[in-house]
C-alpha cells in the first residue's frame, strides 16, 4: 500500500516518471488499489470545492483610513531625522574646524587658516567662561578629537538604530 500511495502522490503532483506511471497502471488493475486511487481523487475533488470566506465588511475602508493616517504621521516624523542629521553634521564640522585651528599646522600663508582662526576667535569670544577654564591647548586639542570620535560614533549608532527599526517594521 505504501508504494501505491507514494506513486499516486507523485501522479497527483505531476511528478511521476514514465516507468513509475507504468508501475502505477499495473497496480491499479487490482480492484482494491483502484478504490484507493478513487479515494485520493475524492479528496482532491472535495478540497478544490472549498471556497473562501468573506472578509469582515468595510475591512478595506478601515485599512485604507489607517494607511492614510500613517502616511500623514510619517510625513510629520520625517522632519526628525533631518534635524538630527543636520545637528550631527554641524557639530562634526565645528569640531573639525576647532581641531584644525588648534593644531600646529604650518599654513600661515593660507587664507583658509586665517579664516578659521578668525572664526574660532569669534566663536570663543562668546564663551569667555569656557576659554578661561580650558587654557591648555593640548587638552582642547585632544578633547576635540575625542568629541569628534564620539560624535561620529553617536551618528553611526543613530543610523544603525534607524535601519534596524526599519527592518523590524518591514519584518
Amino acid at each position: 500500500m505504501k508504494r501505491l500511495d507514494e506513486l499516486i502522490n507523485k501522479y497527483l503532483d505531476s511528478d511521476i516518471t514514465e516507468s513509475e506511471l507504468e508501475e502505477l497502471q499495473q497496480l491499479l488493475k487490482n480492484e482494491n488499489n483502484y478504490e484507493n486511487f478513487t479515494a485520493f481523487k475524492a479528496v482532491e475533488n472535495r478540497l478544490r470545492q472549498i471556497s473562501y470566506e468573506s472578509a469582515p465588511a468595510l475591512f478595506t475602508e478601515r485599512l485604507m483610513s489607517l494607511i492614510l493616517k500613517t502616511n500623514v504621521n510619517q510625513i510629520k516624523k520625517s522632519y526628525f531625522p533631518i534635524i538630527v542629521n543636520t545637528f550631527f553634521s554641524l557639530l562634526i564640522i565645528m569640531v573639525i574646524v576647532l581641531i584644525i585651528s588648534l593644531g600646529n599646522w604650518n599654513t600661515n600663508n593660507l587664507y583658509v587658516d586665517k579664516f578659521l582662526n578668525n572664526s574660532v576667535q569669534e566663536i570663543t569670544s562668546f564663551v569667555p567662561l569656557i576659554k578661561g577654564v580650558i587654557k591648555n591647548r593640548t587638552v582642547i586639542f585632544f578633547s576635540s578629537i575625542i568629541s569628534l570620535i564620539l560624535l561620529v560614533a553617536f551618528y553611526y549608532t543613530f543610523e544603525s538604530h534607524k535601519s534596524f527599526k526599519k527592518k523590524l517594521e518591514n519584518y
Binding site: 497527483l12 503532483d13 479528496v43 478540497l47 470545492q49 473562501y52 472578509a55 469582515p56 485599512l63 489607517l66
Partner: protein, 188 residues
Amino acid sequence: MKNLSDNDIIESIKKGNVSDFSLLVDRYKDRTFSLLKRMLKNEMDAEEVMQDSFLKVYKSLSSFRGDSKFSTWLYKISYNSALTFLSSKKRKEEQDFISIDENFDLVKLDNEIYSTTENVNQYILKLIDKLPIKNAIVLILFYVDGFSINEISNVMGISLVNTKVLLHRSRIALKDLLLKHNYHKEIL
C-alpha cells in the same frame, strides 16, 4: 481596473497613488482572511492579524521587486504574522504545531467529527479545521489557492522535500478516512 495585474497596481502605488492599494486589498482580503481564520480559529484575531499583515505589506511595498508572485509574498507575511500572534498570545498549543505523524490522534479526532457531521462536505471541512495547522495549510494552499509546491515551501518557510512530505501525508490521512467511512463513493 479589474484587468490590472498585481504588478501594475504595485507600480502605481509606488508612484504615489496610495489609494490603489485598496485594489490589492479587495483582491486578496477574502483568501487571506480564510487562511488566517483557519490558523487562528477566531474571526476577530484573523481580522487583527490580516490588518497587521496588509500594513506590513504596504510599508514594505517599495522593497517588493516582483521576483515572486505578490500573493506568495502576502501569504508569507500573513502566515508568519499568524505564527507570531499565536506565540505572543500564548495560544501556541502543542497540537497546533505538530504534524499528523507526531503524536496526533487522528482516530480520536475522526470519531469526534464523524459523530457530529451529517454529510461528507461538513465532515471534510471540520476535519480540515481540526487538522494540525501545517497539514491544513499545505492542503488549502495547494488545492484552494492553487499554489505550487515551490510556492508553498516559500510561504511556510520549509524545504521543498518537507513540503512534499507534509502534503503527501495530509492527503493519505484524508484518503484513509474517506475510505474508512466509504465517503469517496459519495463524492465521485
